[in-house]
Amino acid sequence: MTTFILLLITGLGLGALYFLVASGLSLIYGLMGILNFAHGAFLTLAAFAGWEVGRRMGLDTTSGFVVSIVVGALVGALFAALTEFVLVRRLYERHIEQVLVTVGLSLASVALFEGIWGSDPVYFQRAPWLTQTTNVLGASVGNTVFVAIGAAVLVLVGLLLFLNKTRYGLIIRAGVENRSMVTALGIDVRRAFTLVFTIGGMAAGIGGVLASNYFGYVSPLLGGSLLIFAFIVTVIGGLGSLAGAAVASVVVAVLQQFTNYYWGYGDFIVVLLLAVVLLVRPQGLMGRKAA
């Protein structure tokens, strides 16, 4: 029972990290039809920026940890907004070029990060309370797991409030359904594009800092390794569906965690799940069928 609880809660923690990356990916694809392969770069840069600022303040302090999250969120948002404004904006409806540019940016970013910070993972001291565990029904669960889950829930609630309660949220939801009709109403949908990229980058930035605390290191490859599973989560949840991304994040991560523990085939089972979903329900768990 203790093992079950431990695997379940750590699975939820991993799912929280997947969701922080996948939420932005899903919104960006839903509104703009763009598969953003550079999303991992937002996460990695934010993780390094958070680490750089945090270590100057003392990463082993709570204030350093909090500041690193804020810095990570801001850097992720800024990098994403610049990417949209400088590169992606010129390429709407040109899907091949979008893939080439975002893949190119992703590869170039990794090379740049390796040039600046080296290719090896940089391990760092975390605040003592983050390295401690909390007992849940006999299972000792690391506190970083609870922090990741709490952050993901806050981001999910914030995004849902934004989408459902604000004027811009209404535009974005409408744009996800029918972008050209939003334009036909006289709405300049490009502002919504930039905003969605920025929000996605911010969530990825928070995810980057939390992931580095979760794993205990920052690395130029941090974003890429999470991005693969975030893409799988986005497809399984249904491209464009925030709720789908949340549900799929939990399903994928918990399944991965249990399978890894008992059989060691966690990654394989996730890819198998992706294949089954694509065959049985190609639009994903909560996505809409293509017209």
Binding site: R167, L170, A174, N178, I187
Partner: protein, 264 residues
């Protein structure tokens, strides 16, 4: 055929300025000429029907006017302003609204949200990222008023759950919320049950009564002929006649091209 003489490109709206003026408007895809040298003028407050067989170029003409497709040559004037090279959203902000043959709604948004989106765009405030709309704010009140005008209840329902006739009504409520000066209706009766046609005809009449100029593409000829001031007939991408409904019914060229069975 030339139906009217164009005013100078870029002229400002003023008394007597047409709501829409098309000057030698053409659209070509590869070697196929879809719209051929159309000249047409629609006066402020006028309602003009566009009829013609399938493939005549009616919807393509609407796409050129609304900016969905770029004109190969010619000029589109909207209330005295040359909008030929302007984007769809820019033309919409100049007061052009349109519906589409297939439903142009947001099915996963509620009925109210569909209309509210258009109302908030017209009233402004979209840039307020964190501006939480109140339940009773101006855009919501306007949206509810327009829904009442088209006789559509239950505003919290998802638009995708509406019947086809109600979807058409909702599209017109969205148009009302835009308060466009010029309206293009592309087959508003398509797929609507015969029971709903009179009701929808009255809704369109009400739309026109707001003072807007209207162009309507419609295959229900009895609806068009009873609703419009003039009828424009297209055939093979060309405008072959523009006249009153009575004049069109007597026009030999039109009868042979399109109306033969109905007029006889």
């Amino acid at each position: 055929m030339t139906e009217a003489t164009a005013t100078s490109v870029g002229a400002h709206a003023g008394p007597g300025t047409p709501a829409i003026q098309l000057v030698d408007l053409s659209w070509q895809v590869g070697g196929a000429k879809i719209v051929r040298g159309v000249n047409l003028s629609v006066a402020e407050g006028e309602i003009v029907g566009v009829i013609g067989p399938n493939g005549a170029g009616k919807t393509s003409l609407f796409n050129l006017i609304s900016g969905i497709n770029p004109a190969t040559s010619g000029v589109v004037m909207l209330r005295g302003t040359d909008v030929t090279n302007e984007t769809i959203s820019r033309r919409a902000r100049r007061g052009l609204g349109r519906t589409f043959q297939t439903s142009s709604l947001f099915p996963q948004l509620s009925v109210l949200e569909n209309v509210r989106l258009a109302a908030q765009q017209r009233l402004g405030g979209n840039l307020s990222v964190l501006r939480f709309p109140r339940r009773d704010d101006e855009a919501t009140q306007e949206a509810l008023r327009h829904l009442a005008t088209v006789r559509l209840g239950k505003p919290r329902r998802l638009a995708g759950s509406l019947s086809h006739g109600d979807k058409r009504k909702l599209e017109i409520a969205v148009l009302l919320a835009q308060e466009p000066a010029v309206i293009l209706l592309d087959e508003p009766m398509a797929g609507v049950s015969s029971h709903d046609v009179p009701d929808l005809t009255e809704v369109i009449r009400g739309l026109h009564a707001t003072g807007a100029s209207v162009m309507i593409v419609e295959h229900h000829l009895e609806v068009v002929l009873g609703l419009v001031d003039r009828v424009a007939v297209m055939h093979h991408g060309e405008l072959i006649a523009v006249d009153t409904p009575e004049g069109i019914m007597k026009n030999q060229a039109v009868q042979s091209a399109y109306l033969g069975d109905i007029a006889s």
